[in-house]
Symmetry: C3
Subunit: 142 residues, 3 copies
């Protein structure tokens, strides 16, 4: 598999919490980094996801929001990933920002140029990547 | 908090409708404008959202769809926000369109240049912003 | 209705599977192509969706992920649409890729330029469009 998503996170299932319709899946990305995904119960079973399973989590960069000074707010999104800006690549309207999490995982986000400037994003600045659990697509090897 | 999302809507919770797993939250944005968000029951409780709570609703501009001549269609999305185009900023492939709702709230959308031309979007034109309730991230001050 | 979404799929409802809160809707796009959407039960009823109903499915191009060599992976997303690249239009940071499915339906995706190069996307190449069922907005004529 090759995929257009800038974020292809490889990890292991750390926990699953099946609900009535959906299930939450905690993914250990190594180094202490982790990600939560929500998938349907049908997908959970079809993919055979259980604790310890190898899993790939796919997240398109435009689905990642970036925060700074995140300490004064609580958000409904499940993935609030603190780290440090590693790189900023500026385009005409959009920019791609890469945030390195503490455990070494890198998260790519596409945001507007204006937001890069408003938030003062540049390498070394503390920043938080926000990802809704329902925006994560999970995959397993066949 | 500073956030990359072009849409940072500040308002008050007008109603909550808890379901089995998720809850719908109606947000009064002032001036008669409103927004519906869907969050998990867990988030509803963790954020302490109740009628009258101050809340911030975050929506990335690429998650906002734009319609014109919307009168002849019914859509499954919960937020169908009618207004008038206030500004259009054109990039190489994409464009940012700002729609002013009747109550004064402004909604930013990133769509393709081609769509701007197809829909004839320019300041003063009537347009509708469409946002899925599940694409809204809610936040509250800590 | 005119809409900014690059993907406006017209079809007929082939099946509905109501759950507790949400419902899955299978849409026959003709030529053997199909799409699955998840909407709330409220929307299902409000739109009057039943087998045979005419329906429009709207999907913004940035919500579509592109895969190649998809044979070795199973994904949680419900729509895994195999086809052939028909066109690639390159911008400064992003690119628009059009994939023609076997039945003739065309799917537009916005991905990064880098991904176009990594995946070797060009007309004639086999590629797969991935769309989460919850990212599909349904519409019906009033």
């Amino acid at each position: 598999m090759k995929v257009s998503a800038r974020n292809v996170f490889r990890g292991k299932v750390a926990a699953t919490r099946p609900g009535t319709v959906n299930a939450e899946v905690d993914i250990d990305l190594g180094g202490g980094d982790s990600l939560v995904a929500v998938v349907t119960l049908g997908s959970l079973n079809e993919l055979g996801l259980a604790v310890g399973s190898d899993v790939v989590a796919l997240v398109k960069a435009p689905w990642v929001m970036v925060l700074t000074d995140a300490g004064d707010v609580k958000l409904s999104a499940r993935n609030i990933l603190s780290g440090t800006v590693k790189a900023v690549e500026i385009g005409a309207v959009n920019a791609e920002v890469t945030i390195a999490l503490r455990g070494g995982t890198e998260v790519a986000s596409i945001i507007t140029r204006e937001a890069v400037s408003d938030l003062g994003l540049k390498p070394g600045v503390a920043a938080t990547a926000v990802i809704k659990a329902s925006h994560v697509i999970l995959g397993v090897p066949r």
